[in-house]
Amino acid sequence: MREVSPPEGAEQGGGSSGGVRRLAGRRSTLVALAVAAVVVVSAVVASTLAVALEPRPDATLKPVDLEPDVVILALLAGEEQWAAIDPSTLRGYEPYGDLEVWAATNAFASPCLIAFDRATNDVVSTSCVPEPAELYIDVSGYSMPAGGKARFVSAGDALDVHLYLPEGED
């Protein structure tokens, strides 16, 4: 098999069959870079869109420095003991209407949310779910129209509140 050597002028003018191959290599690299750029840009756009299209919370509750009182502690040790919530881990959030919402950790190391009605001294909703599940509690009533509900979703240190109304109540 005979090798085809670079022709004369390849070095001076840059033109030759070797030059054609170099051009092909350069073009392939450019195409690969372009594809990679498109992938990166698309990923950024997709993640931005995903964040932008995510439903905005109707309210956000921040943590507050609040100590649990004996009423809550008694409820957690009584009718809510099934959740095995560790009372020493209770952390309060800003109130939402008549509701107090608390975060905690249970005996299985799962994060928990508890909605407590101070007016009636009732635990309205409790949820403990192992990570990485989304942790939320749903509450109906409390100034919501019939058939509607408020969903309190754990969002880092804060709580996002989403209001869901039945169709025709918008």
């Binding site: 050597s5 002028g9 033109g15 069959s17 054609v20 099934w82 779910v129 509900k149």
Partner: protein
């Protein structure tokens, strides 16, 4: 035999084509005919540079003006003249624009596919997907509605999604038109969960494996684990969140 005039014209043409290929305003990529012609001239030039007598060069390779196809015989001759050089080493550039277009199209398809499926690929995958079974509710199912009077579930809308780990799963609508999910443990005739959520929210129902609960389900899951049922379209997806997984 090639005349000096022909040779000079070919060299001029080669220079012009090289300019179109490597010059500051290179545009030869969009002209496959010119590109093929350049390859042909380069091959002939390479042979000439290595002392191949000009008489042996395929005159057709030099004489074919741009824009006109050389005859198949001439192309074959030229191919043989450059020795054992595989055609694939010089031909790919002629088809590159089309190849590149296909590559970009394929990349876009892949990107769209990734964007569409990315969240599903990255997100949790259901342990199971339940479909409507068409089973009719019996009296035990109707009876469990008594345990959730606040939900105002329309019993005529009950639809079975079968049984998952001894848990009966039913869907229904409430009096407000909201979709609902219900979980029944037949072993204790108990309602394990009942949720109704307006359509703008995701309808989910958690059933916990709590040691203090009398139950038959979830014996193989660690205490504190949660089975989450998510209503999506005409299916119910089941997710497990076991304690100790993280």
């Amino acid at each position: 035999m090639r005349s000096p005039a022909t040779s000079s014209a070919a060299e001029r043409e080669l220079r012009e084509l090289r300019l179109r290929a490597y010059g500051p305003h290179a545009d030869i990529d969009g002209d496959p005919v010119a590109l093929a012609r350049l390859e042909k001239l380069e091959a002939a030039h390479a042979l000439a540079a290595h002392g191949t007598p000009a008489e042996e060069l395929p005159s057709s390779a030099l004489d074919s003006p741009p824009g006109r196809q050389a005859s198949p015989v001439a192309l074959a001759t030229a191919s043989v003249s450059v020795g054992d050089t595989p055609p694939s080493r010089t031909r790919p550039t002629a088809g590159r624009p089309r190849w590149r277009a296909w590559l970009i199209a394929a990349a876009l398809v892949v990107i769209l596919g990734l964007a569409y499926g990315g969240t599903r690929l990255v997100g949790d995958h259901p342990e199971a997907t339940l479909r409507p079974t068409g089973a009719e509710p019996d009296t035990r199912v109707y009876r469990m509605l008594v345990y959730a009077p606040d939900l105002r579930i329309a019993s005529s809308t009950l639809r079975s999604f079968g049984t998952y780990r001894d848990i009966d799963i039913w869907a229904a609508d409430d009096a407000f038109g909201n979709p609902c999910l219900l979980a029944l443990d037949r072993s204790v005739d108990g309602l394990l969960g009942a949720e109704c959520t307006p359509p703008e929210g995701e309808l989910t129902m958690d059933v916990g494996v709590w040691p203090l609960w009398e139950r038959d389900f979830g014996a193989d899951l660690p205490d504190g684990s949660v089975i989450r049922f998510v209503h999506r379209g005409d299916a119910v997806e089941v997710y497990h969140f076991a304690t100790g997984d993280r």
